[in-house]
């Protein structure tokens, strides 16, 4: 566990130490806040709610998660440090979890940076904190899936832009499957399967302040599956 912590710490510092890291971490809250206060209808509605703020969260997390992870494996492969890591007495799962928790720490930092928005709204009106905390919990779980997917594609390519693009597009597609199910004329069973696979469907359920074990299991299992896939990709690389 100590080794995983050290691997995570290295990832965390490596990201925040670089100017590109600051850009990514600053763009995320700035983008959300400007959409919510400037282009959204918060002041026109005259209601202390963060519904519109969290409705933007899935799309921004689908872009942010892979932006955090895009260079984590691809750069190691390109620079050759991945080979170095493989010659040290570290198990594959420790490497994967080290990367994941490092990325998760950055996600927490990015979400903390958005807390200025609910604090402002609470200062302006009477904010119900239950759904807000539920939505933040949902953001962490949703973000975990984005990070795990991003790590997989980062391990699959040496090009970080390709890793970011493919992961983000895939995540955005899985944010739209529920919408496709309700608009297209398809078999009811397929429609319910599409809705159940929709990432934002599970996120918005948590955003209403409802903690359903099925939503938790959905995010958790998806994260675990992606991290296992990440480990398999690394082990396949060792086979040449």
């Amino acid at each position: 566990m100590k080794l995983i912590f050290h691997l995570a710490k290295r990832e965390w510092w490596g990201f925040v130490d670089a100017p590109s890291g600051y850009v990514v971490l600053a763009a995320f809250p700035a983008l959300l806040a400007s959409f919510f206060f400037v282009t959204g209808e918060f002041f026109a509605e005259g209601e202390a709610t963060l519904r519109n703020f969290f409705s933007l969260m899935p799309i921004t997390l689908a872009l942010l998660g892979p932006a955090i992870t895009m260079k984590m494996w691809s750069e190691e492969a390109r620079e050759g440090t991945e080979e170095l890591l493989r010659t040290w007495p570290i198990r594959t799962h420790q490497l994967v979890l080290g990367k994941f928790f490092g990325a998760f720490g950055l996600l927490v930092l990015a979400l903390l940076a958005t807390s200025a928005v609910p604090l402002t709204v609470a200062w302006l009106g009477d904010l119900d904190w239950g759904p807000v905390l539920g939505a933040y919990a949902g953001s962490l779980l949703f973000g975990s899936v984005c990070l795990a997917v991003g790590l997989c594609f980062s391990a699959a390519t040496r090009n970080q832009m390709v890793a970011w693009l493919v992961s983000s597009v895939l995540l955005l597609v899985f944010n739209l499957t529920g919408l496709a199910a309700t608009t297209a004329d398809i078999h009811p069973m397929l429609a319910s399967a599409l809705v159940a696979s929709d990432l934002s469907f599970h996120f918005h359920a948590m955003g209403r302040g409802v903690l359903d074990v099925r939503d938790l299991l959905y995010f958790f299992s998806l994260t675990v599956v992606c991290l296992c896939w990440n480990g398999l990709l690394l082990e396949r690389k060792a086979k040449g």
Partner: protein, 315 residues
């Protein structure tokens, strides 16, 4: 249970590895005794890096067995890796970290052997890194970066040091410094190094393993390897031009290898490969070229290497 450790530092048996259609290793066997510097030598594509990557545990073999200190690398990777310090080709490092952070990270990742402060102090003194200890890796010169790579390999005090082309890309002064460092390390550790720099082998290695096209061609002390494979390469020197020398090679049926420097523009020298020096002498006489030197390059690693490139040695 782990197998008993043997006196050998490392051993490979029947090692095979292919990358698609390309056969990198085709059943290689060799042994590395403890306490000596062994050079794995061969032309580009001989399989040197593949062999040591398998030994270091970063690559899995298709068939065969690699052992470090009697421990099978494939069966007990963590135990085997704890005995190895590895410097990969091109010396990959995390450029954004300081030298101190790099070594501290390597110490943790390699299993926290001994006390951190003592181990870091030891490797910093061994590799002469104290002046750049707090500097970021990307701000260090290439020579210092190579030292950081070596320090990283040494931080858990491994018994076996594997260095893949350790002087590659360094300037002549840095090459001398790194060779000196490897020589010092070779007094207390078993060292395996790969190289295609022949002078490096002659300066550093106690033993040589010659690989060519994925097969082992020779193994033993430098003297044993060069004497058992007497090279039929000759240094030929004539009074005339390089063109004359090349026509001499053509006339005698020798394979032209390369021109060599001479003290006068009226003298041409070069290396040629031929079964017998008599054929060169006869051709020189027929062409009326004054032959100034005809020296066999036997017992010489360079000659052996040229023969390898020209079609390999008999196994």
């Amino acid at each position: 249970m782990l197998p008993d450790k043997l006196n050998l530092a490392a051993k490979v048996e029947g090692l095979k590895k292919s990358f698609g259609d390309v056969v990198a290793l085709n059943g290689v066997n060799f042994q590395i005794p403890q306490g000596c510097v062994t050079a794995i030598l061969g032309p580009n594509g001989a399989g040197k890096t593949t062999a040591i990557r398998i030994l270091a545990g970063s690559l899995l073999a298709d068939a065969g067995r690699a052992e470090v200190g009697g421990i099978c690398v494939a069966d007990y990777p963590l135990e085997a890796k704890k005995q190895i310090g590895y410097l990969p080709e091109n010396n990959p490092l995390w450029q954004d970290m300081t030298v101190e952070e790099t070594l501290a990270f390597a110490w943790v990742a390699q299993g926290e052997v001994g006390s951190k402060a003592a181990q870091l102090e030891r490797v910093v003194n061994q590799t002469g890194l104290s002046s750049v200890f707090r500097r970021r890796v990307r701000e260090c010169s290439k020579g210092y970066r190579q030292r950081v790579g070596l320090a990283q390999a040494l931080v858990s005090n491994p018994s076996l040091l594997i260095l893949d082309e350790p002087t590659n890309g360094l300037d002549p002064i840095q090459v001398v410094e790194i060779r000196q460092l490897i020589r010092t390390l070779g007094r207390e550790k078993t060292v395996i190094l790969t190289t295609h720099v022949l002078s490096e082998v002659e300066v550093l290695a106690d033993r040589v393993i010659l690989l060519h096209q994925g097969l082992k061609n020779a193994e033993g002390s430098l003297q044993e390897v060069t004497q058992s494979n007497d090279g039929n390469v000759f240094r030929v020197c004539i009074s005339g031009t390089s063109a004359n020398l090349k026509s001499l090679a053509e006339k005698s049926g020798a394979i032209w290898i390369e021109s060599q420097p001479t003290s006068s523009p009226e003298i041409a020298a070069g290396l040629m490969q031929i079964e017998s020096g008599d054929l060169i002498a006869k051709a020189a006489s027929e062409l009326d070229f004054p032959l100034l030197e005809l020296t066999p390059r036997t017992g010489n690693l360079e000659a052996l290497f040229y023969r390898l490139q020209d079609g390999g040695l008999p196994s």
